[in-house]
């Protein structure tokens, strides 16, 4: 019996979540292609003013809608599967799906309306929507509904956990549910920032209830949320790497206790680092920036630990499959299994993305890279590959289980992750080098009269070529993925599927870790304390010594 037979309601929730996610992925990916071709000058099919509409759509659809709906799908599966029980309250489940869908549709409509001049509605404010740039009020309403929807999703899983806990008072929390709880608690304490920004300040200002807005305070509230959100995206990828990848490799998770430590560290450290996105902002004292820097550097630790644990688990699988030698075991891995390949390549790319992240975290070296195209180079490696490619890889393994259908077009499915990896290597390396030369991000036509860009290694033309070609390869890979999904979805229900959903016991189980790791009340308390320590003074300073307000500039 597969998941879809054991838990039909939850399987339906997951299917619907993933359907919205993949639709957003498709549209957002198309926008990305348009951007890559436009800004390099290879092919311009829209005006440069419309480029910013496309860019807003790309950011919101991919970084918000695709990621969040993938997370709700994956986490619903993880909680149901690891606790072995149905959702505690089906109404709550339906509520988050509806609320998130309505919210994201509303926001998307305001963005897409920017293409049609006769509709008096647009939101060319980009994913970060910094005031005094002003979007249509419904853009913000949609965002607020969406965020509230995610809160309800967290409540759904916590309620199910609580029921399980009542039936199992002494057991350790199963690892997958542990990860979900850590992630959602982190989400609650961080999303309060953007919710406050939107509901208390930006929305009233865009409706005309208040006349001016404090741009520095708004930015700071956004980035209070903005770094934690990338971990919100990353943790489901980690869930896949910790629990599914070892099984796909033919092995077992190397260490469950260390996995728990890693996620507790994320809960504690993901949020009190937000100022590292504002190193170059005026109005924030250098001391606060320094503290953000040290915290961010320590936030590297859980990711570095993950690298070891995950690779060790994969090695275990390779050796159980008969691999030998110091490095030769790599050949014994299932390189013809699309789910494995996607996750392995995603993990490899994350190691590279981690390095550019280390540079970004450096307080003063940030002068070199801030707002250049190095930054998108970095996050296309991390969220664009580590997260996105892992989600696609996981889909190859999960979708058969939640639909009861066999994976179709397997050849295309195997080719897809390799193509993504090649495309992203080309695009991202060129973005990093172009950023070092000073080429800016978020710019429709980075070709200037007075500004000459000189590359460190290679010329600017060649970098543009790589970005354009990389973008095309990525879009092709995306099309392959969507094709495989569509064919699988539309196929007939099968008597057997060719994946197996059993997750083996880890080599070192939770019984080898102290129980305090499962004490989320403690960790939440410490996390909140850290937040207060880091953010109370600067935010209070901004409220008491406010930046003179700005009127709206409609976009």
């Amino acid at each position: 019996m597969t998941f879809v037979d054991d838990y039909p309601f939850e399987a339906k929730l997951i299917r619907r979540s993933l359907a919205v996610a993949f639709t957003a992925l498709g549209i957002g990916g198309l926008f990305g292609l348009i951007q890559a071709l436009h800004r390099t000058g290879a092919l311009r099919v829209i005006s440069s003013a419309d480029y910013y509409t496309v860019l807003t759509g790309h950011g919101v659809l991919l970084a918000l809608v695709f990621t969040s709906f993938s997370i709700t799908g994956i986490f619903t599966w993880a909680v149901t599967n690891s606790l072995g029980r149905e959702a505690a309250n089906k109404t709550v489940s339906r509520a988050w799906l509806w609320l998130m869908s309505i919210g994201s549709t509303l926001t998307s409509i305001t963005i897409l309306a920017g293409f049609v001049p006769s509709i008096p509605m647009s939101a060319d404010v980009l994913f970060t929507f910094y005031p005094p740039l002003e979007a249509h009020p419904l853009f913000y309403v949609g965002l607020a509904l969406f965020v509230v929807g995610t809160w309800i999703a967290g409540a759904d899983w916590l309620l199910t956990y609580r029921e399980w806990r009542q039936d199992n008072p002494d057991s350790r929390i199963p690892l997958q549910t542990f990860i979900v709880i850590a992630t959602m608690l982190m989400w609650y304490i961080s999303s309060i920032g953007v919710a406050a920004e939107v509901l208390l300040f930006v929305l009233p200002w865009s409706l005309g209830i208040t006349q001016t807005i404090d741009p520095l305070l708004s930015r700071s509230l956004f980035w209070y949320f903005g770094h934690a959100v990338v971990y919100f995206w990353l943790m489901p990828a980690y869930l896949a790497w910790y629990t599914v990848l070892p099984k796909l490799s033919g092995g077992r998770l190397f260490s469950d206790p260390l996995a728990r430590v890693v996620f507790v560290l994320f809960l504690l450290l993901s949020t009190p680092v937000g100022f590292h996105h504002q190193y170059l902002d005026p109005g924030i004292a250098e001391g606060y920036k320094f503290v953000a820097m040290t915290n961010t550097m320590f936030l590297l630790l859980p990711s570095l630990l993950t690298a070891f644990t995950v690779v060790a688990s994969v090695e275990h699988g390779a050796r159980q499959r008969g691999g030998t030698g110091r490095l030769n075991w790599l050949r014994a891995l299932p390189w013809d299994n699309p789910a494995f390949v996607g996750m392995a390549l995603a993990g490899l790319m994350f190691a590279a993305g981690g390095f550019s992240g280390m540079v970004n975290a450096g307080m003063n070296i940030n002068y070199l890279v801030h707002n250049t195209i190095w930054i998108p180079g970095h996050f296309h490696l991390t969220v664009g590959t580590a997260v996105a490619l892992t989600i696609m890889a996981l889909a190859y393994w999960l979708v058969p289980q939640v639909t009861g259908k066999r994976l179709r077009s397997k050849t295309l499915a195997v080719v897809q992750p390799y193509l993504w990896f090649i495309g992203m290597t080309l695009m991202s390396n060129a973005m990093h080098r172009a950023g070092l030369a000073g080429v800016p991000r978020r710019t429709a036509e980075p070709q200037y009269q007075y500004v000459v860009f000189e590359g460190v290694v290679g010329g600017i033309s060649e970098m543009r070529l790589q970005i354009a070609i990389g973008g095309v390869l990525l879009f092709t890979s995306l099309c392959l993925f969507l094709w495989v999904m569509l064919k699988t979805w539309l196929g007939p229900k099968a008597a057997t599927i060719d994946v197996n959903g059993v997750i083996p016991e880890p080599l070192s189980g939770p019984e080898h870790s102290p129980r305090v790791l499962d004490n989320f009340k403690l960790w939440l308390g410490i996390a909140i304390m850290l937040l207060i320590l880091v953010y109370a003074l600067p935010l209070a300073g901004m409220l008491m010594n406010p930046t003179p307000g700005s009127p709206p500039f409609p976009m």
Binding site: L126, L280, G283, A312, N371, Y450, S513, N545
Partner: protein, 168 residues
């Protein structure tokens, strides 16, 4: 708690790496003297620059080799910088005061480490030393509207004896 000895080793190595990064950054601050833009510039009314240095933007000589440059960033040009280049002499220490008249902009002198956010209501105050003559492009690297990609300027570091005051 049971941790494999390899992983313990890696834990220590990771912490060494992290401390190394923090130490390098601190070295940059303390020894190399790299300073972050902070709240030293103060705040300003974004819609009225009367009686501030910004009502007459440009470069002024203070004394010795110290200069001040007041730059206003707005959609979609730098004043000075866009219609005429900012001129400073070689061998000078220039304090830039940059603010915005409308939305958030960026002020980046390409091929240097001069890169700040420009927020309306705030003044970004940074001091830079220009030793050698040269020409640099300036661009806005924070999205500020439909014409963002046209927002550029120039800064020219002229030989010391050729500087004639202001931003001609």
């Amino acid at each position: 708690m049971e941790i494999h000895r390899f992983e313990k080793f890696w834990l220590v190595a990771s912490l060494v790496l992290i401390v190394g990064f923090i130490a390098t950054i601190t070295y940059g601050s303390v020894a190399a003297g790299v300073t972050m833009v902070s709240d030293t510039g103060g705040t300003i009314q974004p819609d009225s620059f009367e009686n501030t240095g910004f009502d007459d933007p440009g470069v002024r000589h203070i004394e010795g080799d110290r200069y001040e440059a007041y730059v206003v960033a707005q959609q979609f040009f730098f004043n000075p910088g866009s219609s005429e280049p900012i001129r400073v002499p070689a061998g000078s220490t220039v304090t830039f005061y940059v603010t915005s008249a409308d939305v958030i902009h960026g002020f980046q002198i390409v091929d240097t480490n001069v890169n700040v956010m420009v927020i309306p209501g705030q003044v970004s105050k940074i001091t830079v030393r220009f030793e050698e003559p040269g020409e640099y492009g300036i661009l806005c690297n924070e999205y500020c509207g439909a014409g963002h990609h046209t927002m550029e300027g120039q800064i020219v570091v002229v030989p010391e004896d050729e500087w004639e005051g202001g931003s001609q």
